[in-house]
Amino acid sequence: MQNPWIYIGLFLLIGMLIPVAPLAIAAFIAPKKPNPIKQSTYECGMETVGDSWVQFKAQYYVFALVFLVFDVETVFLFPWAVSLNALPVFVLVEGIIFILILLAGLFYTWRKGMLEWA
């Protein structure tokens, strides 16, 4: 069988090129009359104050960390799910232990109050 990724690669290439086409047409036929007021940053009509690099809540980062751990976990679980049918019951227990260990991590995070948006 041919490598399916050749097809995906071509699809990716064309799928990214097709959205460019209308943008290219627009670049030719759309009017271009820039002026400083038009190009100023939009903030509901007020003059913008300060940098757009505003300080973010550290909480976003904590959620990203928790997400990362669970993301890796689910990637591990996919081969397990695929081979579950053909293997003995023992494998089921293995997967459940795997999930429970990580749920313990989620509950630890929860108990420590890191899931609060405060």
Partner: protein
């Protein structure tokens, strides 16, 4: 004789190297993170060329979907004015360059030791062979990597607990 997969490999290898250099050389940290994404994507392309489907998607899901996003979140938490003024390198850059060169030469030496076996393409997968379930079997069967599979979850748990602990200490300050 160069075939299509070698052309794709060379292109993606070029992408990986160029964007890896950009990661460490651009000043703007968000740009560095985006160049990192392109490096990681190049690696995913290499996996795809080798028909390692699972590794290719896992690479995109974990590295681009989670780790790169986390890097960008981390960059956003820093102050911008600190970034543009600090020096990019310190006095030890010569030593670092030398060390990197030594590692490169050592790796090239080891790889060249494999000789002709590297020039051979791997055999095609037999008809009806499902690499994903083979991976699953190896990962969870007791004769395979059942214990490392469980240890991986403990490792992930440790990572989670550690990051929560660090974040807690920061919150107390």
């Amino acid at each position: 004789m160069i075939d299509a997969s070698q052309v794709i490999f060379l292109l993606s290898a070029g992408l990986i190297v160029v964007s890896a250099v950009m990661v460490v050389s651009v000043r703007n940290l968000v740009h560095a993170a985006l160049w990192l994404v392109s490096t990681l994507f190049g690696v995913a392309v290499v996996y795809a060329v080798l028909e390692a489907s699972f590794l290719a998607v896992a690479q995109v899901v974990v590295y681009i979907g989670a780790i790169a996003i986390m890097f960008i979140f981390a960059v956003m938490l820093t102050r911008r004015d600190l970034l543009s003024k600090s020096e990019q390198t310190n006095a030890n850059w010569v030593w670092a360059l030398g060390l990197a060169a030594i590692v490169f030469v050592a790796l090239a030496f080891i790889i060249s030791g494999y000789g002709a076996s590297l020039n051979r393409l791997p055999a095609a997968m037999p008809e009806g062979y499902d690499p994903i379930s083979a991976l699953g079997n190896a990962l969870v069967s007791p004769e395979g990597f059942a214990l490392p599979f469980e240890v991986a979850s403990v490792l992930l748990l440790a990572a989670l607990v550690g990051s929560v602990y660090v974040a807690l200490n920061k919150a107390k300050e």
